[in-house]
């Protein structure tokens, strides 16, 4: 089953209200939304903005697979995700994940699962542009230093 939430990558601002408004289901008692937003500082340095690069075709494929897996694993009514590409200002949303299920435990767990996997696995990279003019590619996932395999990841929240 393919996610009906539409595009998982967005070159412009994410319409969070629109996505949330579309995420109701008569059988869902619980809707959980996660918004990953750009903070004003990173490692003690003032951030000017972020810039996201994606290997688009593959990012879509990876995220779609994650959503399908989560939907099946937790019997979700709704699972959608959208990730920004390009420049994202401080305070703006870089990624949103919405899950809906009959009861709340599943919606929370699935939401966390989806964002964790997107962050580790989707071929999307952030470049931090600092207020001092310097820039630096993010390198969040370094699971390979433990697992010895760039394809094997470790998650805080699930096995």
């Amino acid at each position: 089953m393919v996610d009906k939430g539409g595009a998982v990558l967005s070159a412009g601002p994410i319409d969070m209200s629109g996505l949330l408004a579309g995420a109701h289901h008569p059988g869902a008692g619980a809707v959980v939304l996660f918004s990953g937003e750009v903070r004003d500082s990173n490692r003690g340095k003032a951030v000017a903005f972020l810039e996201y690069e994606a290997y688009g075709l593959m990012a879509q494929k990876v995220i779609a697979e994650i959503l399908v897996t989560a939907r099946e694993k937790w019997s979700l009514h709704i699972a959608v995700a959208q990730h920004r590409t390009g420049k994202v200002a401080v305070g703006d949303t870089a990624v949103v994940v919405i899950t809906a299920s009959a009861h709340r435990s599943e919606a929370y767990a699935a939401n966390r699962y989806i964002i964790d996997r997107i962050k580790h696995e989707a071929p999307i990279w952030k470049c931090e542009h600092y207020a001092d003019g310097t820039q630096e590619w993010g390198n969040n996932c370094n699971c390979h230093s433990v697992t010895g395999d760039p394809s094997r990841h470790i998650y805080e929240s699930h096995g």
Binding site: G36, W125, N139
Partner: protein, 77 residues
């Protein structure tokens, strides 16, 4: 063989370039890439590889007509 690289790998390589040497798998490709820029070695060891939007591992037999995409560790979100 065409190579595409993303993100931090662009500090070491052009975004797209050709490798003329015959390489049969990703280990051999990494070895060739290190001869182009040995500073990329550490990062390459953390990268995943893909052909036709599918991840591949070292078992995959590379074809000289393949386009190989080299994928640094994700940092989305």
């Amino acid at each position: 063989m065409k190579i595409h690289v993303y993100a931090g790998l662009k500090d070491y390589f052009q975004p797209e370039f050709e490798v003329e040497s015959v390489v049969r798998n990703t280990d051999e490709l990494k070895a060739v890439l290190v001869t182009i820029n040995d500073k990329a070695e550490a990062m390459l060891s953390s990268c995943r590889f893909a052909v036709e939007e599918g991840f591949i591992n070292n078992e995959y037999k590379l074809n000289q007509h393949d386009t190989i995409v080299i994928i640094p560790p994700s940092s989305g979100g």
